[in-house]
Amino acid sequence: MTTLRFSYHMRLNFELPVREHHFKLRCFPSSDDRQRISYERVEIYPVHFRTEERDSFGNMCIYGTARQIHDHFTVDVEGTAETDINAKLRAEPHKTGLFKYDTALTKAGESIREFHLSLDPMNWMTEYERAVYMMNELYEEFTYTPGVTGIMTTAEEAFSMRHGVCQDYAHIFLALCRLERIPCRYVAGMIPGEGATHAWAEVLDGEAWRPVDPTHNRVCDDTYIKISCGRDAQDCAINQGVFYGGGKQTQEVRVIVKRKR
């Protein structure tokens, strides 16, 4: 059992005033087989009304409306997570099939298919082992480079450049697994240190989801706090919203995760 303290801070700055701002936030880790979450603070500003729900992947969401005119929007979440590396993240069998199929962001094109053909997994490998093997090969082929891809970059686009960030690693990894119809899902979460959110993946191994981190080429340990999962990054969008006005907007995100001793 490991105890981690986490804080998530987001601030949206709008160049021009915004009104009738409808938002849906997905930045709240929830308790499952592997982690137990307790919250100390959840603050959203400004807000006219807000309410909670779980989406169809079981992710916690808070949605609502900020009617009054504002030029910035902030979200602050703090709490602790107790994680258990040995616990199995049980899968509901009827909810795994969905994760075998492409989405727009994870669809393999020429370059991913070609790479996939060049791979040579051992035929004794289980699906999970094949996935880990593909993760190793991807890690050799791809270079972590911030700033060349964006949130809407597809797996295929990123892979053909051979450069990208954690979201791209995860998407390409998912694309490879889905070429083999191995159920796998995208995970948004936090890891120790100070910075942005992180992204990794979960692969179905028998009756459990096993988290792996393609960016670091490793199996996830007890320092990973999961926020949400879905078919791809879009399902895990931290902030969805519509509003009037705004002009250019900039987003600041600060995530801090520390081991509690």
Partner: protein
């Protein structure tokens, strides 16, 4: 004394004049410009005998019940996939499958409140289902108002005929809305005047007494949906018969680039605080690929043999079907599952050698994208054109409305192709419509 068909035809202009008077139109975009067009009406009705319709009625209720079960299943337990009856790929990679609907149980357990099932009658008299429309099937308003105007224009045509009254459509629709209403007003949500079916939206609102609203009139607050009236008062809305498609329903949850839609309406729908008619995500069941599986669904969920037949259909996705399609390419009709409205339909026999090669290459690359069907030899129906009666292809859209029980409207939209060589009856491609007379004895 009932009129002969010839006598009836002589009133054609008078009836169309009446339809024009009431603005019975549909909208169409040509070169990016919006036009309103009259929907050409042919006075010769399609007549369906009492017994024949009773048969259709049983078959339609059965089919819609199975489709409703299917929707409930694929958004919850997914037994039909686990049991290998429907290939999961057809469910999950269809564009109509909406993941956010997973785990939602709509009010009353009803997904397809208003279903429009397209049928054709073969030359041998047997009926075939061509398509299930479970999203926003339109068209009921046209025979509804046409009947009324025909009765006014040609009362003699109805004298002495034992004909089912069709004027109860609004009542059926209102009952369907009220049955699932979670508390509050019923409304009809239209994208606005520049929608193809705007006449229908406004006419059905008038006839049902439900308020016609656009997205701007609705607002979500504290997990409830409200309509704001002109004095600023908020009235709760409990049932939304929406005539806008899923992707434009809620910009926060679906298409965030658009400002169309009602922010958060989907969130409160998930919580059971408003009924959306028809349910979001229904596209998963009326996909052209899923069509193939409907008879299997009927056996699986209802343990009954299908009463209505599908047109014989092949899925190139299955190897066996692919070989059949390749061997019989020239006599099949091929359809792209992603297209609608009569687009993406190709007759094998009409392709040149190169086009055929190209098509087969595409089909082999993406077998999931296509279905192939035997060409049904439609029974032609006479229409009156330039003073003479001529035979044309026609289909029938039957409407099934679900409230505490399924009800088939004893009428339907008969659409015909005005082009003698065409099988495509869609109004967007120049077709016209007829009334459908269901005999009561």
């Amino acid at each position: 004394m009932a009129l002969t068909a010839e006598e009836l035809c002589s009133y054609s202009d008078n009836v169309n004049e009446q339809l024009a008077r009431y603005g019975v139109k549909f909208g169409i975009y040509k070169n990016g410009e919006f036009h309103e067009q009259l929907f050409p009406f042919d006075v010769i009705p399609r007549v369906i005998s009492h017994d024949e319709f009773a048969y259709l009625e049983r078959g339609l209720k059965q089919r819609v019940s199975a489709l409703n079960e299917f929707l409930r299943d694929i958004y919850s337990r997914r037994r039909i996939i686990a049991d290998g009856v429907v290939a999961e790929e057809f469910v999950y990679s269809g564009s109509g499958y909406l993941v956010p609907c997973d785990g939602v149980s709509p009010p009353g357990g009803i997904y397809s409140h208003i279903s429009g099932i397209d049928l054709v009658q073969g030359r041998d008299g047997s009926w075939y289902v061509l398509e299930d429309n479970l999203r926003i099937p339109s068209g009921a308003s046209y025979p509804l108002i046409a009947r009324e105007l025909c009765r006014r224009t040609i009362p003699d045509a109805f004298t002495g005929r034992a004909l089912e009254d069709n004027s109860n459509y609004a009542e059926l629709l209102r009952r369907t809305m009220d049955h699932v209403n979670t508390g509050g007003h019923p409304v009809i949500l239209t994208p606005g005047r520049f929608n193809a079916a705007y006449f229908e939206h406004s006419y059905l609102a008038e006839q049902t007494g439900a308020r016609l609203v656009t997205c701007d009139d609705l607002v979500v607050e504290n997990d409830r949906l409200y309509f704001t009236d002109y004095s600023g008062r908020k009235e709760q809305v409990g049932a939304v018969y929406r005539r806008i498609s899923d992707e434009y329903l809620d910009p926060v949850n679906f298409c965030s680039e658009s400002l169309i839609g009602v922010p958060h309406i989907f969130d409160i729908y998930r919580k059971g605080n408003v009924a959306i008619i028809n349910a979001p995500g229904n596209g998963a069941a009326d996909d052209k690929g899923i069509y193939y599986f409907v008879p299997k669904m009927i056996r699986y969920y209802l343990h009954e043999e299908p009463i209505l037949h599908n047109a014989p259909t092949y899925l190139p996705y299955y190897e066996q079907d692919m070989s059949y399609v390749l061997a019989n390419f020239d006599r099949l009709v091929l359809k792209d599952v992603a297209e609608a409205g009569g687009y993406g339909v190709v007759f094998g026999s009409k392709l040149s050698h190169e086009q055929k090669e190209e098509f087969i290459r595409m089909m082999k690359a993406e077998p999931r994208r296509f279905i192939a069907q035997e060409v049904i030899d439609f029974q032609d129906i006479d229409i009156y054109e330039d003073g003479v009666r001529v035979p044309r292809k026609a289909d029938l859209r039957a409407f099934v409305l679900m409230s505490d029980e399924a009800a088939v409207w004893k009428c339907g939209l008969t659409r015909f192709s005005r082009n003698p060589d065409s099988f495509i009856v869609n109004s967007s491609q120049g077709g016209g419509f007829k009334d459908t007379w269901v005999m009561s004895e």
